[in-house]
Symmetry: C2
Subunit: 437 residues, 2 copies
Amino acid sequence: MKQIKVGLIGLGTVGSGVAQILTQQRRLIKNRLGAELVLARVAEKYLDAPHRYEVDRALLTPDANNLFNDPEIDIIVELIGGIEPARTFMRRALEAGKHVVTANKALLARDGNELFALANEKGLELGFEASVCGAIPIIKAVREGLAANEIDYTVGIMNGTANYILSKMTDEGASYAHALKEAQEKGFAEADPTYDVEGIDTAHKLAILAALCYGNRVNFDDIYTEGISRLEPLDIDFAREFGYKIKLLAISRGGAKSIEARVHPAMIPVGHPLANVAGAFNAVEIVARSAGPIMLYGLGAGMLPAGSAVVADVIDIARNMLTGAGVRVPILAHQPKALRDRPLRKIDEVSCQHYLRFSVPDQPGVLSKIAGVLAKHNISIASCVQKGRRVKGSVAVVMLTHEAREADVAKAVAGIERLKLIAAPTVRVRIESLAKA
Amino acid sequence: MKQIKVGLIGLGTVGSGVAQILTQQRRLIKNRLGAELVLARVAEKYLDAPHRYEVDRALLTPDANNLFNDPEIDIIVELIGGIEPARTFMRRALEAGKHVVTANKALLARDGNELFALANEKGLELGFEASVCGAIPIIKAVREGLAANEIDYTVGIMNGTANYILSKMTDEGASYAHALKEAQEKGFAEADPTYDVEGIDTAHKLAILAALCYGNRVNFDDIYTEGISRLEPLDIDFAREFGYKIKLLAISRGGAKSIEARVHPAMIPVGHPLANVAGAFNAVEIVARSAGPIMLYGLGAGMLPAGSAVVADVIDIARNMLTGAGVRVPILAHQPKALRDRPLRKIDEVSCQHYLRFSVPDQPGVLSKIAGVLAKHNISIASCVQKGRRVKGSVAVVMLTHEAREADVAKAVAGIERLKLIAAPTVRVRIESLAKA
């Protein structure tokens, strides 16, 4: 029986999962593929550290070059993460004529276009299913399952750590600091949680997903990114009163001249399926022209869930090798020459509803002054609540606006804060209307 | 630019959707595929009837043989539904050396194995993404996205008509008859709703899905099938009190010696994502060994949603043709020689929790007699409620059992009904524990 040989770089969490699946599911994979996938060599810097799955020591090498130079190896799986040396390793693998599979969203968001161009030039595959939403086969769904569709809009919860923290804050009334600490103790958050809680990891994934959905090269640095670290339990409570939950969302929208891609916390209706995505789960809704709204839900990270997505890519490439298909689906879902370079819309130009919480003294006339400034900036109020709850000696006035341009809301809030009566910085949370496409 | 020519049989709802997508999305598809998909010929019995999308009349023919005999046509799309002449048409297409795409679950559930064998023998593809859950790319997810996984369990809402009726009954307290009538008036249910409301359509889809998931030929007639037509608003109310919603579920479970596949209404916890799948939407949860639980959600039917899935299959086949890949993924997700023939477990052997509603006179001692019979059959009671609500002169006693074998529950209920005190037939609804895998 034909064998396809796989070289693995990195025996960390996901690498261990891949090694375990390739070893333990060998027979299952053979039954599906009609050939054997063999884990032929594993490059790991920390040979003597404990790994979550221990491979045959004879396969181990500290030097990844031993994989690129091995003529028997067909597919290289890069799972060390980060920019370097991952980028150099992926380039060397491609230059050596090997297909590459990776879960490295940070690298692809930054240097993807360069790596994709190299893979195209060499006629090789570069698989990255595991880079977006772990176990969920979202890349395959967009590239193939929805191939007959223009994509109009996507909205997703793409970071399990941030979602775990927000779920804690929502369900248990925990503060951000407390929820983060618990997430760290349980291993859901890293010692430095910046990438997860500040939306950067989510933005990496969105850069990849948006490029696929709209056939457009996306500049990661242009994605508006705002995290959850400044959210307060009070706003989560108010959200509940209005029938909303707060989630860290990755949102994208197509367009003829520009596309939209933004990451920020937002209120969504409690009845929407995304509002019930709890803990470490991820979910993405894709509004496709003909298919309508499609939602995919599953574990966004973890040894075996991410490993499952990596091995799916390896099997896909193996099928192409076995049938002589070469590269069957273009890397970014569109033929390279059909890719476009529409710019991302600036956040100032985006319109949505807003939740605004003002801290004001409890005295007559305050509300009318605030409303006056909002009206001056063409922002109309959908509903308003004034609560007796005192926050630092003042009361909270909460207003939900109708849809308004970000730039107008920012100007209005600045204008309101110039009024003498504001006691603490105004809190702004966007409200995502979701179905709008 | 290379062209791939498609012949379409049947210009009904889904056929019109396919014609519309192939025509209106020609440029998008070319950008993704790198070749043109051309709708070359359309066979339609009712040439002069109005169609939801009108194709160029020059493409129309009343005789499907004109498609099989056309050497230019590469792929035949069969969308007339039903057993004959669809079966003959598909056989003729394959015998003429053409790939086939269909949405015909009834035919595949009955004669799939014969058609799959013919396609394999001819080295041709037989695509059926649209046959299970319409727009949702579930077939691709199982065959490819989850290829590295054993599948342990699946549970899904696979019929939009039944789900629409149940949603009406749940949200508005409507009777079954009233909700059905409204569904018919709105075009969600057909004049003869039997296939949809009695679970037969769901069972067709489950037969296909289970075969893929477990690499096992499934005999459709062995699937236990029970519909929603006997559900009463009272049981939906009781379900709510216990924290459940009633949904028509398709459930499957793997196993070494037998597999499980059953369709019936069941109570599921209100907090589970499936409980919030409303109206005409479908959703399927797949519990995969490494990936964990994956849920896919979307529109289960309709002109463009089903058309999207059909065209995705056509594009998939076109990619294989363009790259010379031939058949790249085995039809039932496993190599034909790896397919197995484990039998389906009889419903009597299945264990789950049960909701039992007894109609009894409101007098002392009744509860203890019922509990006694249940205990005699090794059925323990998880909770019990007796309501003052009079139903036909009696009161309702509701018991939720712990997990119990179907056969034992059936015997116990028969035993209880032999007691003189039962005023009306006992209502049984299964409670699905979902996460159990």
